[in-house]
């Protein structure tokens, strides 16, 4: 370990650490643009110049590794003046169009200028102008705002291994170019928008949708595949408007794929099942929660044979309780896993858009659900099918259906005995177990519509109504009971998971 002093604070870090990362451990932010922890060091923006005692010149913190006994000054006059100079240079050709720029509010140029920049401009010449360019995929390039940090170029070169971007031209004529005939259509290309420290690379999907300061953010986990990328769900007026990656070195570094990013509109669907529904003589009609749960329980316990078809994207908590119901009533518990193409991010270790487009199939397996390609074929008249947020459109005649879901498919209406409305993952707390057995929490990001209830609570109430025991009403407490009853989860709590998750204890032992 190396011991050094940064801004008067003693820091102990492993050898080979650069000064930016070392400073982070002391709670000191060294302003920077081109440096990114998941990309190779370029050292070109010169924003992170710091003063190191006994060095003849200011040194770029990103490209300087720690040395024993170093004394680093981040906020000395010399270092501040250098940053002020860089900010002035960056701004001479940068349009002051923050009021119409999507990046405003989360722009590093804006932030650092506000903190340390000049209050006036000495630049009297006309600014450089280049027209906007559609980079393909979801990406729009606004060259006038570009500070040429080359994060995007390095991401496409090194992480995506699809080098479609370059620096074209030289001097102040330089801009980010796209090789002729190629577009930013790589499955992970959308990350360049997040990597861009300014508003030069924009998401077409998010263009002019919201100002950064209007958004509410909740830590979550991407439900689009079994990789379990950590994401931030960003909502405006209770509507999810953007999904962005949240750093987790063990899972997704700083990245998320385009499929995950774009797959949020379903969360905001307005044609939800909002009230408990039961079958009456007049057909389906709204009912109270207690009546609906009782009707569902009666149908299940009166059936000759019960099949439970659950979505492998439900949380561990819900699947655990559904598994309890299945074992209590002797139901077969099955799931279907939707599959798509696999799209790895080649430059990152074990990071891919997985073929299994289900957030929690590993968890589902641990709670007794088995994959069954055609679960409905085995059904016969008189059976009860419990559909837990799974997509089912037709069932054989004579089969009664209990729905625990966010939607009620009209094609099923004739079979439904009771339908219990639940929250989707953005409206409740819970955990997913990813394909490597990492258990990760997601937090509620938006309010649920009307009378919908968290899925774990609905499953718990139904289990209680069936006599399978009583269960606590909060996700954290249900997880605690998972930890005491399911061996794979032994000892885990929401507190120990934190927001970065943890591998299942058994897996951790075997891989250690």
């Amino acid at each position: 370990m190396v011991t050094l002093t940064i801004e008067g604070r003693t820091v102990v870090v492993p050898p080979g650490t650069n000064l930016i990362e070392a400073a982070k451990t002391a709670g000191v932010l060294i302003p920077h643009y081109c440096y990114h922890p998941s990309l190779p060091v370029a050292g070109v923006c010169r924003m992170c110049l710091v003063e190191v005692e006994k060095f003849p010149k200011l040194t770029p913190a990103c490209a300087t590794t720690v040395g024993d006994g170093q004394v680093v000054h981040v906020h000395s006059d010399k270092a501040r003046d250098a940053r002020k100079g860089v900010l002035e240079f960056l701004l001479i050709n940068h349009p002051l169009d923050c009021p119409i720029c999507d990046q405003a509010g989360e722009c590093e140029l804006q932030d650092y200028t506000f903190a340390e920049g000049r209050k006036d401009s000495r630049y009297m010449e006309p600014k450089r102008f280049n027209p906007m360019e559609d980079f393909g995929g979801d990406v729009l390039y606004v060259p006038n705002r570009c500070i040429l940090c080359t994060r995007c170029v390095r991401f496409m070169d090194v992480m995506a291994k699809d080098p479609v971007l370059n620096v074209s031209e030289r001097g102040d004529r330089a801009y980010i170019g796209k090789f002729e005939g190629s577009d930013l259509t790589h499955a992970w290309a959308g990350n360049v928008v997040d990597l861009c420290p300014v508003g030069a690379l924009l998401s077409k999907d998010f263009l002019n949708r919201a100002r950064a300061w209007e958004l509410d953010r909740a830590a979550s986990v991407c439900p689009s595949c079994s990789q379990g990328c950590n994401v931030m769900l960003e909502t405006r007026d209770n509507v999810v408007v953007r999904i962005r990656p949240r750093a987790n070195v063990a899972v997704n570094q700083h990245f998320a794929c385009d499929v995950g990013r774009m797959n949020y509109r379903w969360i905001n669907r307005r044609d939800r099942l909002e009230y408990p529904v039961v079958r009456t003589e007049q057909g389906l009609s709204a009912a109270s929660w207690s009546e609906a749960v009782q009707r569902a329980a009666a149908a299940i316990s009166g059936a000759a044979r019960v099949t439970m078809l659950a979505s492998p994207s439900l949380s561990n908590e819900t699947l655990f309780l559904l598994g309890r119901i299945a074992s209590h009533v002797g139901a077969s518990s099955v799931m279907t896993i939707e599959r798509g193409h696999e799209a790895p991010l080649v430059g990152a270790k074990d990071l891919s858009l997985r073929a299994e487009r289900a957030a929690n199939h590993t968890g589902a397996e641990l709670f007794g659900f088995t994959e069954f390609a055609a679960p409905l074929d085995a059904l016969a008249s008189g059976d009860v099918l419990i559909v837990a947020d799974a997509a089912v459109t037709t069932v054989p005649p004579g089969v009664s259906v209990v729905v625990i879901g966010t939607l009620l498919d009209q094609a099923l209406a004739a079979h439904v005995v009771a339908a219990l409305p639940i929250c989707n993952f953005a409206e409740e707390d819970g955990t997913f177990t990813n394909l490597r057995g990492r258990v990760q929490r997601f937090l509620q990001a938006k309010a649920a519509p009307a009378q919908t209830r968290p899925s774990y609570r609905v499953a718990g109430d139904l289990a209680t109504a069936l006599g399978a025991g009583s269960f606590p009403p909060l996700a954290a407490d249900i997880f605690a009971s998972i930890a005491t009853t399911v061996p794979a989860f032994t000892g885990m709590t929401y507190r120990t998971l934190g927001l970065q998750g943890a591998p299942l204890p058994l897996l951790a032992e075997t891989t250690a």
Binding site: G43, M124, G171
Partner: protein
């Protein structure tokens, strides 16, 4: 030799001895003049001994930085790794054209020096990276390399020594920045010619990430003569008063001067005698106004500062500038220094690789302000701004292109401020920027 002028008696022609001698270009002619004997001996000598002779001679890098050549070679150890030698023939510094003549007249001198240097650093492969605009030098060096291969001087068994020496000639594509050593390596590797961040230094990870030494054309040419005649002989060529700068230096003289050309003189030569005697002084009827002694990147000197200076690394530094590449640019009293400095700044703005913020934006901004002052649209405040920009551009970037742009601005403003002020209309505090000026017209 002062080619195209006849040699001046005060010159000490060593590497330039055969300028103008067409026979020296051929292999036969070069061998008749004692060529390749040094290489034959060197190949039979331990590289460390070769390094020691060059170290002892005090030969320093002639590309501009003046790093001791023998010391640089001694960084390369027989570690079993592949080593590379790069010869920097991307001579693009405005005012510098010494390597051009070395390659035009004595391409075999360069090939021999290259092979010697390759042996001295345990390298089997050398690349000569020649500026793309140098069409004749490229042809001459290519022909010399071809002849040397045909004669068995280069190749798998160089001069029968059992050692392999391969020399590749690479043509640049016209970027000044590719003369920066790490940008040159990127360019050779087929990448964009951007300087690399150091460390790692080339001696650790250079070309193709292998230990690499990079030398200037003039340096390896001089090394041939050092090895032929010994370190003491080389030291005897220069003024004994300064043992830190030894041997001879080839100066390219251009601009407003009676006899422009290349002149080789011993280190420590009086600058006054050089300019007024060897080069013939200013054109008749004129006087010198300014001298840039070492290529466009070094501070500008006034004739008074030049008069007392001696021409070696330390002497020119004492006079307030740098020896640099030895490109002496002369300005006479008819020149407009604002126009000249603006033109220099435009060159650097055009050639900036665009990596570092200070250089990309600073060179262009400096140029715009200077050209505005040149066109009578400046303000007094601009002069302060120029100096502050120059300060922000100095010592903060990966390579020194940014500093090189700031240097003539700072020294020019210091020494010729009255010329700048004369172009600024009295009592002007704001300007019509070009776009508005056009709109109003």
């Amino acid at each position: 030799m002062g080619y195209p002028h006849p040699s001046h008696p005060r010159e000490t022609p060593v590497i330039s001895k055969y300028f103008g001698d067409a026979e020296a270009r051929t292999l036969a002619g070069w061998q008749a003049r004692g060529g390749y004997e040094v290489l034959r001996e060197a190949l039979a000598t331990d590289p460390v001994e070769v390094q020691n002779v060059v170290k002892e001679s005090g030969l320093r890098g002639r590309g501009g930085a003046g790093f001791p050549t023998g010391v640089k070679w001694s960084f390369m150890k027989p570690d079993g790794k592949t080593h590379y030698l790069c010869i920097n023939a991307d001579e693009s510094e405005p005012g510098t054209f010494k390597d051009r003549e070395l390659m035009r007249w004595t391409p075999h001198q360069l090939v021999e020096g290259t092979a010697v240097a390759a042996h001295a650093i345990y390298a089997e492969t050398a690349y000569i990276y020649i500026r793309g605009e140098y069409t004749e030098p490229i042809a001459r060096v290519r022909e010399a390399v071809r002849e040397a291969y045909a004669a068995g001087i280069l190749g798998a068994n160089a001069m029968g020594s059992g050692k392999r020496v391969d020399v590749h000639v690479h043509k640049g594509a016209g970027a000044y920045i590719c003369g920066e050593e790490t940008a040159l390596m990127n360019s050779l590797e087929g990448r964009r010619g951007n300087p690399r961040i150091k460390p790692p230094f080339p001696a650790v990870a250079g070309l193709f990430a292998k230990p690499t030494t990079i030398n200037n054309v003039e340096t390896v040419c001089a090394a041939v003569h050092v090895l032929r005649n010994g370190a003491d002989w080389y030291k005897s060529l220069s003024s004994p008063t300064n043992p830190k700068s030894t041997g001879t230096k080839l100066f390219s003289v251009c601009g407003n001067v009676a006899r422009p050309g290349n002149y080789e003189v011993g280190m420590g030569f009086s600058m006054k005698e050089f300019l007024w005697d060897v080069c013939g002084g200013p054109p008749s009827g004129r006087t010198f106004k300014a001298i840039i002694p070492g290529g466009s990147s070094v501070p500008i000197l006034t004739p008074e500062e030049c008069e007392g200076a001696v021409m070696d690394y330390e002497g020119i530094q004492a006079a307030g500038s740098l020896l640099g590449s030895g490109g002496v640019i002369c300005f006479d009293d008819t020149q407009d220094m604002v126009r000249q400095i603006a033109r220099l700044a435009r060159f650097y703005a055009h050639e900036s690789c665009a990596q570092c913020t200070q250089c990309r934006e600073g060179t262009a901004w400096t140029t715009k302000i200077l050209e505005r002052i040149r066109d009578g649209q400046g303000t007094m405040k601009d002069l302060d701004t120029l100096l502050e920009i120059a300060d922000n551009m100095t010592g903060k970037t990966i390579c020194v292109l940014s500093d090189s742009c700031a240097t003539p601005v700072v020294s020019g403003l210091k020494k010729f401020r009255h010329e700048f002020e004369a172009k600024i209309p009295k009592n002007r505090s704001s300007v019509m920027v070009p776009s508005f000026a056009t709109a109003a017209a």
